[in-house]
Subunit: 455 residues, 2 copies
Amino acid sequence: MKFLIIGGSDAGIAAGLRAHELDPSCDICLVLADEFPNYSICGLPFYLSGETPDWHSLAHRTEFPGISLLPSHTAERIDPKLKTVQVRRKDGNEVEIAYDKLLIGTGARPVRPSIEGFDLPGVFPLHTMEDSFAVHRFLDERQPKSAVIVGAGYIGLEMADALTHRGIHVRIASRTERILATVDPSLGEHVEAEMQKHGVEVFNRVEINSISNSGEQLTVLGTSGFAATVDLVLVAVGVRPNSELGIAAGITTGAKGALQVSRHMETNLPDVYAAGDCVETWHRLLNRNTYLPLGTTAHKQGRTAAENALGHTREFAGSLGTQVVKLFDIVAARTGLLEDEALKAGFDPFTIETTVWDHKAYYPGARELRLRVTGDQQTGKLLGAQLLGHKQSEVSKRVDVFATALFHRMDVEELNELDLSYTPPLSSPWDPIQMASQAWTRALSAAQSTSLQTA
Amino acid sequence: MKFLIIGGSDAGIAAGLRAHELDPSCDICLVLADEFPNYSICGLPFYLSGETPDWHSLAHRTEFPGISLLPSHTAERIDPKLKTVQVRRKDGNEVEIAYDKLLIGTGARPVRPSIEGFDLPGVFPLHTMEDSFAVHRFLDERQPKSAVIVGAGYIGLEMADALTHRGIHVRIASRTERILATVDPSLGEHVEAEMQKHGVEVFNRVEINSISNSGEQLTVLGTSGFAATVDLVLVAVGVRPNSELGIAAGITTGAKGALQVSRHMETNLPDVYAAGDCVETWHRLLNRNTYLPLGTTAHKQGRTAAENALGHTREFAGSLGTQVVKLFDIVAARTGLLEDEALKAGFDPFTIETTVWDHKAYYPGARELRLRVTGDQQTGKLLGAQLLGHKQSEVSKRVDVFATALFHRMDVEELNELDLSYTPPLSSPWDPIQMASQAWTRALSAAQSTSLQTA
């Protein structure tokens, strides 16, 4: 059986490894457009900050048992009838590769905003290894002192941290009400405070219109009177699916132009699977496809696709949109739905925010942990959780307890029944997760009794 | 409705608070034998180490809304027919308190080992606030330089850490093969290494026979040639239920002499509930009662008892035995069953141990995390997990993800489907939890194919 994989990032490599695990005799061929199989794109900010000095260490792995890797091979055309893929090699020659089963894992690429001057020297997107080499060279050669970062999602904020780490003064221009719009503004406010504490200037509700240069200086102009003259501009305003190859072959698309796939990761073409940032993602709470490109999801989808391609049967269990970011000394994380997302999806959400100690206050080093819990006031079901706290407050694995609870569609109240671990230096007899659950129940009762009194 | 609670620690206070929350008009009276309502017994080692200088801060709370507290009131006799309790006050006088519903939360007391010389000055148990005051006075007045700790469970090991923190040289005498027998010996070995790294001497498979004194020095003798002359001896060899009051009233007992309760926390006496360290605990995986005294469980049982006492219906969801301890710079945690416990319970366990980085190795500060995963090789169900790692490796909340998975009786393989959070400074695209799950599946396949080849 010939299993051909297009794309050498998380989805493709996870699929190849799983296929080899399930059937060591499977003939697995993987073509990737660059020279960097399964590099950690999420690690680029740390390479650029200098915390990860050697880019080679960004490789998630350097051995790919059972996979024939063809680097610098760009897939140009899929013929689903003949079951072949035309591939252009680095030397310009085309080769044709046949397949029994095909996986498309072509990933995503940065959204290119319509900003005048986007192509000027000193203005960079950041998505690929090549992008990061270009930025790295610029940092080394030009030693910029100041930067504007356009976009305040994960990459933009991590780059603000990274450049600050290198002694560069950073201004962030964000279109949203608060930075880090993946969490609610009340938490975003604390993220902003952390950025500002480290010297980063934050400008919200700003749309960048133009970048112009004068010598080596770049002047960035935007709405709300935003104007800054700096040495470097990074643009990180999100990604969109690299779905053209699949579309040209006849694959239907859905949300944001991503390839449509079943929960078995099948496309509408026979024997053609797709996974990762180029496809729609089944959302476990919404019970529908969304576009939610995340490395964790890409790994799972690639693994799932391989299992099905090799004749096993596995459904992708779905994403909860669990995400986490560390910025300076704080960590912000979320899983499930924000209140407004829940509302749009037809739930009847009720959200509380509570601040508790991450561990018993009598033990040194206790820090405040902020939790926002959203549940459905009709059914009592947990819908989502957002946490913000110190980097040593186990924020990310606390959000994972919520994620595991959401996976099983638990009630908010039921979280109290979980047998969670406790020792004074690390938690409380009711973990903050459970204190937040109790706060939710109390606040809901109070709100309901107030509304009864009003009625 | 008069709700009388005997005992002012976790179970009793949790019950009182919940009762008041459910029905502010409920007449809640709580008698406690000492002056310390809801103090954190788990915090005593940190008070004695000096990390928590003021013992007052050990109070989990200082306000008890809706609860009439009667401190220094010792319940002496329950009359279940008249529905009264005889209580002796500090001044020696007896009072009779009537109840509609009664909760017994009398807790546990230290096992008193049959060691000759246990009553000598300088030999201390450690369970109550009074115990800790006695030890604290001794530490202040006598400034001991050396100690033997008898027992290598949580309290014994935390006290080894605490006394070392104060500059005291500590020897631990443990009956078990390795210290911290709540995890498997292969992890216990690493706990020992951590203790030894900080100057603690560990003696395993030692039974202490006698303590004798000469002036202010205590000589401790045990099996395997154990002999030590020191300034202080602490004995922490476990606890047993304080169940005599309930037994005298006619309550039946079960495991280790603990009071028998239903999953509604009812005893066999009408309107008499019991909760916490004095009762049997429903084990969610074993589907039977065990004796498993833990503060987390006591809180949940107290809360559950109150709900039922007030006419609601709630079953105690059961314990998984989730536990965690921090010792010097490491954290060890477990949930569910060890392999030998699973075997005894009739499962067909298979266990692997794997060591992975706690986060992406390219980001500074990555540390090794050891995970032991036990699953059933017939059903694929997760049975338990044990973790050991650095105190900043989110060990405790990682064990809680396993605990939440166990709560829902997940397959080991299914852990891969959990949407867990990832950012390079805190995890990997497959969290260590999932890497361990994959290692378990691979090792099981390998073992099964080897056994097929052999057959």
